[in-house]
Symmetry: D2
Subunit: 364 residues, 4 copies
Amino acid sequence: MSSNFGTLFRLSTFGESHCKAVGVIIDGCPPGVRLTEEDIQPQLDRRRPGQSKLTTDRQEKDQVNILSGTENGLTLGSPIALKVNNRDQRPGDYGDMQTIPRPSHADYTYMAKYGIKASSGGGRSSARETIGTVASGAVAAKVIAEQYGIEIIAWVSAVGPFKAKTVNLDTITRVEIDQTDLRCPDPDIFQKMHDHILSLKEAGDSTGGVVSCVIRNVPPGLGEPVYEKLEAKLAQAMLAIPATKGFEIGSGFAGTVMKGSEHNDPFVKRDGALGTKTNNSGGIQGGISNGEHIHFRVAFKPPATISQAQQTVNYKGDPVTLEAKGRHDPCVVPRAVPIVESMAALVLVDMAMRQEARHALNQV
Amino acid sequence: MSSNFGTLFRLSTFGESHCKAVGVIIDGCPPGVRLTEEDIQPQLDRRRPGQSKLTTDRQEKDQVNILSGTENGLTLGSPIALKVNNRDQRPGDYGDMQTIPRPSHADYTYMAKYGIKASSGGGRSSARETIGTVASGAVAAKVIAEQYGIEIIAWVSAVGPFKAKTVNLDTITRVEIDQTDLRCPDPDIFQKMHDHILSLKEAGDSTGGVVSCVIRNVPPGLGEPVYEKLEAKLAQAMLAIPATKGFEIGSGFAGTVMKGSEHNDPFVKRDGALGTKTNNSGGIQGGISNGEHIHFRVAFKPPATISQAQQTVNYKGDPVTLEAKGRHDPCVVPRAVPIVESMAALVLVDMAMRQEARHALNQV
Amino acid sequence: MSSNFGTLFRLSTFGESHCKAVGVIIDGCPPGVRLTEEDIQPQLDRRRPGQSKLTTDRQEKDQVNILSGTENGLTLGSPIALKVNNRDQRPGDYGDMQTIPRPSHADYTYMAKYGIKASSGGGRSSARETIGTVASGAVAAKVIAEQYGIEIIAWVSAVGPFKAKTVNLDTITRVEIDQTDLRCPDPDIFQKMHDHILSLKEAGDSTGGVVSCVIRNVPPGLGEPVYEKLEAKLAQAMLAIPATKGFEIGSGFAGTVMKGSEHNDPFVKRDGALGTKTNNSGGIQGGISNGEHIHFRVAFKPPATISQAQQTVNYKGDPVTLEAKGRHDPCVVPRAVPIVESMAALVLVDMAMRQEARHALNQV
Amino acid sequence: MSSNFGTLFRLSTFGESHCKAVGVIIDGCPPGVRLTEEDIQPQLDRRRPGQSKLTTDRQEKDQVNILSGTENGLTLGSPIALKVNNRDQRPGDYGDMQTIPRPSHADYTYMAKYGIKASSGGGRSSARETIGTVASGAVAAKVIAEQYGIEIIAWVSAVGPFKAKTVNLDTITRVEIDQTDLRCPDPDIFQKMHDHILSLKEAGDSTGGVVSCVIRNVPPGLGEPVYEKLEAKLAQAMLAIPATKGFEIGSGFAGTVMKGSEHNDPFVKRDGALGTKTNNSGGIQGGISNGEHIHFRVAFKPPATISQAQQTVNYKGDPVTLEAKGRHDPCVVPRAVPIVESMAALVLVDMAMRQEARHALNQV
């Protein structure tokens, strides 16, 4: 396990589906930040299951509780412990899993790694584990919003074969994103995505999708080359989210077919400083933010848990037919939106603190 | 700067283009590994510039020297310091850079971050910095090859718009890859890629490309959920390589359009244990290796340094025309092949050691 | 804040005196360890205030609750979250502290560091913070006891000017230690220590003392030179305990007056392996355990909170007379015994896991 | 091995006695620091053997070479690699060591840990390893001297049974310390110490001693409770120095016999801020600097390598008489003075950077 993340703003998360609680400790949060549960709950609400018929029917209220680290609504600089109790525990749903590793789930690999099986199968591979990420990400986002005006907005840009049109990175808002359950801001493609998800749900199947994200107002200078380049930590952060299979920043894979003369972002004068005319770099050059919008995309596979019958083998290797009975998401991307935002915030707050440390002792 | 990588097998690299030497310290390498310079030099030779007319004309011999950590050809368990002297220093080539930040290079962001400019502009964003990665990666690869039989093979799978056909992941070898300077094992597409690069070189331009990689014989159980899932660390590792813009594992972005019923990898009995029938997971499930081939792809943008004239602005914001004079690569992917392999080896050796620590104390 | 400790067996603690709860997450505990609250509670009981009239009168039951990481009484390998609710909160006791920094307490330095004041004054400098250490230390101690047979026993070896006679390091047990509230196994000095503490309590004063510790059955080879030598991590661990002012191992400060010919520990044959005839080294040579008993001593200052009037100044610098009203310990060493044992266990479990990782890949 | 130290200002050292070179990489040094070899060499000269007849006769010039990280005499913010070549290699001196582990040296424990034996026996336990510490410590000391005016001065305060009188912590300087080879500023005791060392050298024996240290002008607020309290990191740092057996800060072990009413340091108004009237705390309260002088003492055992015959056993367990033939120090404390100063500087620079990061984002 490595449930830790960050060098100066450090998380440590805990909890699986069927224990008493899930949560996180944040060690290193700056003092003096106005913080109550109300700053954290909204992102948890966007993450929780049961929000709409597009997601799983499991109802989880996921009320967060600040156990330590604040007094009179201000952070003290000491560790902030955040806890969400587990309620809707139905280990009975996982009956077959005692003998059959679910295909493309983490049952088999957790057994290989730990030699012991949680009743939920994949242990911390459960989506429930992301509560700690989202709760701490909300704190991180608040810190950098107030300090630097950084804004982080993610949205669903593809569901299965249906792709949303390009959004305006300068103006897109979370309010705009949240106008539909799907969190896709393109009204033209919305209905197709919606119907695709529902028809797969009906069929006991699932679909993948893509979440896009823009980060605005990032000060130039964030990122720690060489092994903790800003895009490298974002890539790690995104691939740490369950069900992700890919990450691309700026021009991404499409940039591989371009010529340098097309791809380069020439500098221009802007507001008395330098900006770039284009942004194929995605706001990062040499592993360091350049002040332009950071934008990236994250690929999510179709959820592994489907209720269609699957031909597979049990732990002994005997052929079996597996029919899952739990309530699961036919498509995770709408709920993944706040998780992507949270991981991005956690990367940025840590990078900002590290750069401030350097800056304070810079003797140039 | 974060020139460190790894938790138990830990690197610390140093050096930029115009200092005395570049290199790396490996702290935590297991003792008793047979190791001489001859185990390291071949990968450095595959990385160095001037190998063929497809790459830059700069000639760098890049002879590695083991300064410490071995005796009588065996590692002692103490830090292994590896050094490569810098020779071909031509700071004169970078004249304009004193006043003009090169588009899509790291000159501007290094200045924003550090407030001081190395004569080479982007400091450690130089490809030369990767020598430490490749030298230590060769050691890591040797350790896991001898301990587990792990094989890591990368190749060029696309150059600009030209894509190689699928390779056989079971059998592809480095010898096969190295039959051409391009390191693309598809003979049908080779000539088109070759001509594309040379014509861009002629035109003072550059092109992007894709490097693919397979890792064979990885024992099940490697990877440290949740924030250091195996794919998350591979993603970080790959995006830490200069000029990378994307990473995808297994089905990757293509997996986002699939249904769960297509994408899931059913288990099958194989050699007395469990394998999977398909491998959309790319050898990793829930952040942990499952024993199947790990395979992934890395997107490289076209090199930013081109000799075509570019319209940009200088640090003051005044419009200028920049014409770079140095000798540079029209396409980095052939030389990136050993770098991708090295970063993969560095991720795996650390994950293997961490899993062994857990395994030794497992009380199941 | 750095509430984290350990590289592979990693803690993250939280909580101050007047928040909802205190506790700890352990990330990296090996799977398969039999663990329930009953394995943890005994050390918390030895640590808690109100055990006897020698300590503070505050009554805190400090019942520990395992929130995650176990199922059916076995650890899963996932993070183990341990929580103890805060009950006996009396912020009213700290009235003067809003304006007066208590001498030799952490009120002033926490304000200097964080710019904000918890109602308890010194925030996490409170002894209550040690609950997370003791709870996780109990888990660590269980892991290494079952894996290696390691035994860790601490005791009170001095209270003020009263020093206990030397104990037999081969045979001393916790049962023997706990025969008195003082946790000093020397019956001859017990009454003097006891009376000294009570008379100081009566006088509104306090006293310092020394805790000694022996660790038996440590396998040779633990410790990570050079900066994480075993004695260096023990020193850090002990000086991280509130109120500590010194650490010495083996011969310690007394060894500085010896000659090498007296101090050296000659090797002898023992049970088919090598042991040492004397043990001035304290079980560690070159930063690595040699298989002999590890023994060390920790100096505790007299508690800073006394009820005698003190002449000092307030935050503005105006002279004031401070009279503390809370209930506090006249001497911390009896309660410090389990804390010392816990920190020692946390150091050793991490070192053992790191050595096992190396050992598994050792190719000699 | 853990040859790494620091969170933001991070070292990685390398090298043993009989390899090509020893040295260090500093990653995270702030940019813009004026730095040439001349800033580093003086402390290496104070550390090197052969300075006087009080130390070993081995002559090592230990010229440091900056390989990377500076340009035009200024640090770039990139890793600074420092190298010192090994010259005076006499593996022949260690003949017996192939079969006999030297008492109280690290030969036996290195073998237990690594399963392989460097020709020098204890591998990195050699004093030569401290070159990396001292070289990087000189850089750290320069950074904090220029940024905060921090001064670090260590001296020999005891040799065997001979103790120096108390020095004036406000005024003591390195110049004053270096007036004698012994680095003891008490002229009254100097001759006794000197004669003691020489007579032991003559007798093929050795002696222990104590190094004291004061750190002036430390800003309030440094130190990261709870596990990285300032005194905890200093303790780790000092116990990581070869041959150390103890550490005490402020009142230290002597404080354990005091009453709280004597030990507490009342606050006073000083220069418009708060200071303390006494300084039993040693400049640290609750793990955080309070602005007073930090002062501590480090115990050094007598060097294990003596030329007197020793009765011991070989690796097989057979009784043997060992007579060491190398040239060794009869007393390490004079040479340990710059090492103590270096470790202190390395702790402080890292703590200062971490506090600056917090401070920059403090939203009080």
